[in-house]
């Protein structure tokens, strides 16, 4: 019963979306407010309908209804409740349904805003949003691979039949007694919130994109669409950022290779829209302030949204394992057509409005906030060029030459590293430049103190024994950005303190309230500085060693002494066999504690998981992996130990980053919250 209800509700949602598109077009054609109201209602209705469908799937997952193929493939009896719930995005079909549900949520939210002043944009926002929604829901409905409600059947003589949605006369239900369980890789707290955050970031970009397209279609080519969607874009970008960071944390905790970012194509596919989105967030400011680069901004939001869809396509259609998976999955071609149509339509519109999108003015100086932002965009686009090509070239190579290739860290790091350094430099200069025209003299006046401090820090590091030029440069630039940001913030607060007699703390608080976007941005920059410490730490100072130890023997790495104490093997109640070692950590002869690296073997999925033993401080992490062991004899076990300096700053920086984004998103104080 539940599968039929879930499928039925989804089908109705699809029809409602299609109806919404058509009535919206009718509203434009007939210039009719009635049709438009009807379309708006349709858009509001999609979310409740998909919610019903999603609820059905959740109930099936929790009840353990293993006749449903999706439930069988992602859950098992032994799984705790929270994992059964998160199995919703543990597989292809559930993910797509979940994605559609989130998108419908955003569509409904957008439908609820006050449209009084932007009425002419509304029909087109509805059309663009609902077309995307209908596409995703349609895939869940009409592709056998992506329908989460498909069930197992057998014929009367007990032979299993192909899974199907509906029962015909000679079919009997086939109910397995237990499921296969969620992939062990996904059984981590980070994995529980990582996908929803990433998806939220992905789908919420549909709103600024829809507004941009609506602006192009209606010919309202001013910065209105940017002002309306400013907060939407920030929210989308924030979710995407959180999703990426959680993914990094998950990789660090679960994948057991000592790092957080391996330039895996799936990671890079999620990074790409973040890169163009970040460029967009900066370059829209130029259009708002100066009316410049209108074409570029529309293009950037189109590209960001295109990269979202393309990234979903790449990760969902299985092309990364093999290009040929593309044709096998029925998702591939559908996605491909959708992306092509979207790209052609968007670019066509930009071209159609090319003349109207001419800049209102011109750059008035070679050196100004605008030009620094322009360079910022150039650097982001360069990184994107490397990252985009990095995930696409292997596909091309396999297609053309039949040869599979790997684009590993060396490919990315040799170019992205210097570009990130350049980005830090721009980040240090930008807050000190003025819109319109800036002079080197004024820059020099405000930059010399922070620059001197940064320089002194580099000298101190040099004297302290840091020799790698890259690391020194990285630390120096990070320090420059940090000092400039603090200096700028402090100076403004000091001015308020002096002129308005506010206490220093109140002045800081008031400042953040006055111009949330600017000071939120500064906080984000500080977050990036802290994160860069973690990146520099692991890129330049990570060390590792590996060895076979008998109980009582030790390994040494970077002043730490790790002593293998004991090993135990036992079954955990959730269906895994755990091999857990106890390793003592000492530094300079002082005992610091124990870590417990382990190997979990999941019986159901027959997959092993390597979970590191971690001792983490702000200074460094000691990361111990149990590589292999001799089960019966006391011959010993092989351990791999990583010393990861400063890596914790990455997570601290991410929190500051998050805080800054929230400050920037929060409505301006003293401003009546306009719905948008």
């Amino acid at each position: 019963m539940l599968p039929e209800v879930g499928y039925g509700a989804l089908l109705v949602a699809f029809l409602v979306a299609v109806y919404g598109i058509l009535s919206s077009l009718m509203a434009v054609w007939r210039n009719s407010a009635t049709w438009l109201r009807s379309a708006l209602s349709a858009m509001r209705l999609t979310w409740p309908l998909i919610t019903v469908s999603l609820a059905c799937l959740l109930i099936l997952l929790v009840r353990g209804d293993f006749q449903v193929s999706y439930v069988y493939n992602t859950t098992s009896l032994s799984m705790p409740l929270y994992l059964k719930l998160t199995a919703l995005w543990g597989g292809q079909a559930g993910s797509l349904l979940f994605w559609g549900w989130l998108m419908a949520g955003f569509a409904s939210l957008a439908a609820l805003r006050n449209w009084e002043r932007d009425r002419e944009l509304l029909p087109w926002v509805i059309v663009v949003t609902l077309v995307t929604l209908a596409f995703f829901v349609g895939m869940v409905l009409f592709s056998a691979d992506s329908n989460p409600f498909v069930r197992f059947w057998q014929n009367r003589s007990g032979q299993p039949l192909a899974p199907a949605m509906f029962r015909s006369a000679d079919m009997l239900p086939l109910v397995p007694w237990d499921g296969r369980g969620l992939s062990p890789l996904l059984r981590h707290p980070g994995m529980i919130i990582h996908p929803p955050m990433l998806y939220l970031g992905f789908v919420s970009f549909v709103i600024p994109y829809a507004f941009a397209m609506a602006a192009l279609i209606t010919g309202r080519n001013d910065a209105r669409w940017i002002r309306i969607t400013r907060r939407w874009t920030l929210v989308a970008w924030l979710f995407l950022s959180i999703g990426l960071v959680l993914g990094m944390r998950w990789a660090y905790d679960v994948l057991g290779w000592g790092g957080y970012w391996g330039w895996d194509p799936v990671e890079v596919a999620a990074l790409n829209p973040w890169l163009s989105g970040t460029a967009f967030l900066h370059s829209v400011m130029i259009q708002e302030k100066r009316g410049l680069f209108k074409r570029w901004n529309v293009f950037l939001i189109t590209m960001t949204y295109g990269l979202v869809i393309y990234g979903t396509f790449l990760t969902r259609s299985g092309v990364f394992s093999s290009v040929h998976a593309f044709a096998q999955s029925d998702l591939g071609p559908a996605f491909f057509v959708f992306i092509a149509v979207m790209a052609i339509a968007s670019l066509g519109l930009i071209f159609y409005r090319w003349e109207a999108l001419r800049s209102e003015g011109q750059l008035t100086a070679l050196f100004s906030r605008e030009t620094v932002f322009l360079l910022n965009n150039l650097v982001f686009m360069s990184i994107l060029a490397v990252c985009f090509w990095g995930i696409n070239y292997p596909l091309l190579s396999e297609l053309v030459t039949g040869q599979k290739v790997t684009m590993g860290p060396p490919f990315y790091e040799s170019t992205v590293g210097p570009l990130l350094a350049l980005l830090l430099l721009l980040m240090g200069i930008a807050p000190l430049t003025a819109w319109g025209r800036s002079t080197w003299k004024t820059l020099g006046r405000s930059v010399w103190r922070p620059a001197l401090l940064a320089f002194l820090l580099v000298v101190a590091l040099l004297l302290g024994g840091v020799r790698q030029p890259g690391a020194l440069l990285g630390f120096g630039l990070a320090a420059l950005v940090g000092f400039v940001t603090v200096y700028e913030y402090g100076r403004a607060a000091w001015m308020r303190h002096r002129t308005q007699g506010e206490s220093a703390l109140l002045a800081l608080w008031q400042l953040a309230g006055r111009n949330r976007r600017r000071y939120g941005g500064y906080l984000i920059h500080l977050g990036v500085v802290l994160m860069s410490l973690g990146v520099i730490g692991i890129e330049f100072f990570q060390s590792e060693t590996q060895g076979l130890l008998r109980p009582g023997e030790s390994l040494e790495v970077s002043g730490y002494r790790l002593t293998y104490q004991s090993l135990a093997q036992f079954d955990a109640p959730d269906g895994r066999n755990v091999t857990r070692a106890v390793v003592g950590v000492e530094k300079n002869g002082r005992f610091l504690g124990e870590v417990y690296p382990r190997r979990d073997y999941y019986y159901e999925s027959q997959q092993p998981m390597t979970i590191p033993g971690l001792r983490s401080t702000m200074e460094d992490d000691v990361y111990v992996i149990l590589v292999s062991w001799q089960p019966i004899t006391e011959d010993g076990a092989t351990f791999k130990v990583y010393h990861n300096p400063l890596v914790n700053w990455l997570w601290v920086g991410a929190l500051v980053f998050l805080l800054g984004s929230l400050v920037a998103i929060w409505p301006e104080s003293g401003n009546v919250v306009k719905s948008a």
Binding site: G262, L363, T364, M407, F411, W435, G436, Q546, L548, V627
Partner: protein, 155 residues
């Protein structure tokens, strides 16, 4: 006494000889030496997993292969070339710079140069119009102050 001296000499000689034999034998390369090479290679079966951290049995065997080659005196480059020849270019951390693979490196470079070209052109136009005096922009803070003052008056 003399006999003992002889025995001692012979024993010493034997020990010396053994020590020489031991020295001629390559010591088994350590895990760290193996990993230093394995890190630069990719598992031929799993997707995008470096060989030094791949937990599968197959990869364990491959690491042992690296150990044997190192023990036999192979260089890092030779081992990498061997793996590429044996299991395909995908075992290398990045495509070798030859033939079709040049596209992997040239396309991003071309895109970047295109970007630089566009930005230079924009700046070039800006430089020409620079002579026209630009109006100084109002500071953001000042603008916010004025806006909020106006709002207060409006209330």
């Amino acid at each position: 006494m003399k006999k003992w001296l002889w025995v001692a000499l012979i024993v010493w000689g034997v020990l010396l000889g053994q020590a020489e034999v031991a020295a001629a034998q390559e010591p088994t390369p350590s895990d760290d030496e193996v990993n230093a090479v394995a890190r630069q290679l990719y598992c031929p079966v799993c997707e995008n997993v470096p060989l030094d951290v791949c937990p599968t049995e197959a990869c364990k065997d491959w690491r042992e292969q690296i150990r044997e080659k190192l023990a036999a005196g192979w260089s890092e480059e030779e081992i990498k070339a061997y793996f590429a020849a044996q299991y395909g270019d995908r075992t290398l951390a990045q495509p070798p710079r030859r033939g079709f693979n040049w596209l992997a490196y040239l396309i991003p470079l071309a895109l970047m140069l295109l970007g630089v070209g566009v930005v230079v052109r924009i700046l070039w136009t800006a430089r020409r119009s620079q002579s026209q005096a630009a109006l100084p922009m109002v500071e953001e803070e000042r603008l916010a102050e004025i806006e909020s003052a106006l709002r207060r008056q409006g209330e």
